[in-house]
């Protein structure tokens, strides 16, 4: 499901399946994008932040056009206890690799991987990022 902001329109509530993972996409070239994500975070139930939320920062390939500070994004990840991924959608290889990572995360969050919970995986991702 793709949405441009939260909360989701209520008229489709009955058609929506259970949500296992929320990926917030931030375009590093647009401050507007970060503001939008920050505003939408307020509408997310606290339970999601136990490993079912992830931040995906796009557009990192174009270094000259960065509008959003990476510090602000790291801080966001810390405050909301969620991992931050960086990618560049314009390059097919990175796009495919990122999709595969997200898919893997989704499998874990949906409980399809025995022995690994969303919370344990989220903690693992955050700890490895600190190195």
């Amino acid at each position: 499901h793709l949405a441009t902001s939260l909360p989701l329109p209520s008229e489709r509530d009955h058609l929506r399946p259970r949500i296992d993972l929320i990926v917030f996409m931030i375009d590093i070239k647009s401050k507007y994008s970060l503001q939008n994500v920050e505003a939408s975070l307020a509408h997310v139930d606290a339970n999601f932040f136990l490993g079912k939320v992830c931040f995906l920062v796009t557009g990192v390939g174009r270094v000259n056009y960065c509008s959003v500070e990476t510090n602000a994004i790291w801080k966001l990840g810390e405050v909301y206890c969620s991992p931050v991924l960086f990618c560049e959608l314009e390059l097919e290889g990175i796009r495919v690799a990122t999709a595969q990572r997200l898919l893997r995360m989704l499998q874990i969050c949906a409980g399809h991987i025995p022995g690994v919970s969303a919370l344990s995986f989220g903690t693992l991702m955050r700890n490895s990022a600190d190195d």
């Binding site: 499901h1 793709l2 949405a3 441009t4 902001s5 329109p9 489709r12 994008s33």
Partner: protein, 346 residues
Amino acid sequence: MDETVAEYIRRTVLKIPRDEIKTMLQKWGFLSETQLQTVNFHQIKENISQDVVQLCEENSADIKQAAVLDIIYNHIYPNKRVWSVYQMNKTGEETEFFDLTEFKKKFKRRLRSALKNVTINFREYEDNAIWIRIAWGTPYTKPNQYKTSYVVYHSQTPYVFISASVLKSNLPLLCQALVVASNYRDIREMELRSHSLNSLKDIVFKRYSQNFQTYNPRPLQERNVAPESADLRIIQENRNEKERIQRVNQKVFGDGPQPKIEFAQYKLETMFKSDPKMDVLDKKEPFRCLVKFSSPHLLESLKSLAPAGMADAPLSPLLTCIPQKARNYFKIREKKGFFPGSFVSP
């Protein structure tokens, strides 16, 4: 043939892209077809220009003919210059029959009476456009052929498009000559400038696709926003919002291509409104600030902002009013009265 004329022709030919040189020389018509056959248009431009100058030498070209070639070049590549738009006002009486010969005569006479050293050339085109090329000199020096102004006048309209050279001091004289020659009363500069002459014409002649109010209380159901992907597993949660943005955009910008302008400039003379605790400016005077938007194609990029998710729809009317108001340079002052806000000066 004069050395300066030869050099001028050589430089003009060098400006033309190699594949276009032959066609442009044919349009010029100064060299015969047989003469053109003798030139190898596949060699490097440096050599082509030398050959052309040689042929012009045989035909004894003078500055008037060279100037015509320059007009032809600028007519085909007007976007290399910056054009401003001027509007003339009549006294409001009967519309007189436009006499081209009278116009040219009066224009030349008026200009020459003030400044003897000018080269003036006219060329008419099918769309009723009169192109005037003026090379400026001073009372003591001959006209500098590299410092030229161009005027495009559509005789059926009160609009004149001027591409002045660096010599801005000659502008009042030029305007005066235009007014006198065309039997108008005065002329004023509009706040509209761009590289694209055709787009400026589109804006003032209202040739771009405008939004016409149609009575349609509900959007037509058949209008299908093309699905972004055929994959049915992707569900767009905010389809309604996306469609609203498309509708608003279409209402504001219309369906067709936008006129091409490169800048929009807003000169703000408004008060700085800050948090009272910040206390940045205790003096209550206007905070002077200049905001400039630039883009290879400003209006198209404004049109794509909301659909790309980079701005809210509808956009500020200060941005979207550009074609309707036929201006891209604005001065915004404080609105005096009970309601704080800003107001756009005429």
